[in-house]
Amino acid sequence: MDQVPALEARGLTKHFDQVPAVNEISFAVPQGSIVALLGGNGAGKTTTISMLLGLLLPTSGTARVLGHDMATERFKALPVMNFSSPYVDLPGELTVTENLKVYGRLYGVPALTARIEELAALLQLNDVLKRRVRELSAGQKTRVALAKALINAPKVLILDEPTASLDPDTGDWVRGVLSEYALSSQATIFFASHNMLEVERMCDDILMMKAGKIHDRGAPKDLIQKYGRASLEEVFLHIARGEAAA
């Protein structure tokens, strides 16, 4: 029997005041894969991710996570998924440990203290565990956000620009941690990014969005070859500027 997809959109549509932000997109992301959602500003990435998280109800169609419809039964999927975005903060007045304890309990994590120690070691957070989140540097905050996103050892991890505002070294380190996590836990990672190098390095598959639709899909190398370009960035620009495939 085939495994249920980690993520699945079927005819997924969202209109805001009759204006389509996402227009009848369909795709499936197999379990254990790393898939990127690419597209220019206003392409519909955030809207798509929001529907997959259950934060936004579709106008029509369905968004499913591990087979659960996120419009009607999101509480069946939410305990085994997680999310991180540089645009959503953790409470700055709380220490790193306090934040992780709160979220650990929200996700019902067993042996929470041991899990926090494990994540602190993995993400090099031991020195900052007792510090307030607001006092941390951008790189440290990203690592804390990642610890929160991994607190429940999610089967599905959704990320919005995971390395935005990080220096190249920290960005590279974060990509390494994520790739290692996906490999070791067979988790699915689905992320939106504007960093083409990141996408090329991490992803098995790419969904290219444009004007609310899935414009193209494929492995990074296949897309580069298909469009006859030298890099994924050139492919992105090619699609964003509305030129036809080679």
Binding site: L55, S85, V88, T95, E98, K101, L106
Partner: protein, 270 residues
């Protein structure tokens, strides 16, 4: 995952939310000082006014009981309400709502978490001022006896119900409605019968006042202080009205949450 679940309700998640707000309180001595400061100042001012009225024999022998009792009960209502809405406003300021709403935390668990926080904040806020009244002005709210428990319950539940309504407004309009969150409860003060009986209001306004649970508490308090009578009918009516307001508060919050998911308001909540 190991959570204590009862029909889609997890005590562990409620505890997590209460813990989140209590960590915040513990981390910030200024917040605790502010919590205690306002009720204490309010009660001190009214304490001196009533002491003045008594010493000048204006014929209001029960002035201390009437005014200070009213202020303490009003503070219970206000603190219960603010304890809930301020906790929610904190989530906007910390840009944390996105994380909460994609966690397994259900909207009704968030509400209960805020209620628990409100209970703790109200006690921390009011207990020093209430105890301070005894040595300073020779007044103890506990002289009201067992009905005080019912008064506390009625006012707290009304404050929470009103808080849920304000939380719904915050979800709909975000921090643009922050000022409303702080001030909304004060809007009922003129008709709540805090310092004067409901009968002092114009005839057309009295039914509106009696539709609020708080009216039964303040009238009940006056019946005890002035007549020495416990009006249990007032207590039951107040509690019954609370049931209606709580059901309305929960329904409005849940409905607004659904609308927010439809319109994408949760995306902008940060």
């Amino acid at each position: 995952m190991n959570t204590t679940r009862v029909y889609g309700f997890s005590f562990t998640r409620v505890y997590a939310m209460a813990l989140r707000y209590l960590y915040l309180l513990r981390r910030s001595p200024m917040r605790i000082i502010e919590l205690i400061y306002w009720p204490f100042m309010n009660l001190a001012v009214w304490g001196f006014i009533t002491a003045y009225l008594r010493s000048n024999t204006f014929g209001i022998t029960q002035a201390a009981g009437l005014f200070l009792g009213a202020v303490v009960l009003w503070e219970i209502l206000i603190r219960s309400n603010l304890g809930m809405t301020v906790a929610f406003v904190e989530e906007f300021f910390s840009r944390n709502l996105g994380h909460l709403f994609i966690s397994p935390l259900r909207p009704h668990e968030l509400l209960v978490g805020c209620v628990v926080t409100s209970l703790v904040r109200t006690i921390v806020s009011l207990l020093p001022a209430i105890l301070g009244l005894v040595p300073l002005f020779g007044y103890s709210i506990f002289d009201l006896g067992a009905p005080l428990i019912a008064f506390y319950l009625i006012l707290s539940m009304f404050g929470w119900a009103f808080g849920m309504f304000i939380m719904a407004i915050l979800i709909r309009w975000g921090l643009a409605a922050e000022a409303f969150a702080w001030a909304a409860m004060f809007a009922i003060m003129p008709i709540a019968g805090v310092y004067y009986p409901i009968a002092a209001l114009p005839d057309w306004l009295q039914p509106v006042a009696w539709a609020l649970p708080s009216a039964y508490v303040f009238e009940g308090m006056r019946a005890i202080v002035l007549e020495g009578v416990v009006r249990s009918d007032y207590l039951w009516r107040g509690l019954a009205l609370d049931g209606v307001y709580l059901a309305l508060g929960i329904a409005i919050f849940q409905w607004t949450f659904h609308i927010a998911r439809k319109r994408g308001l949760l995306l902008n909540a940060n």
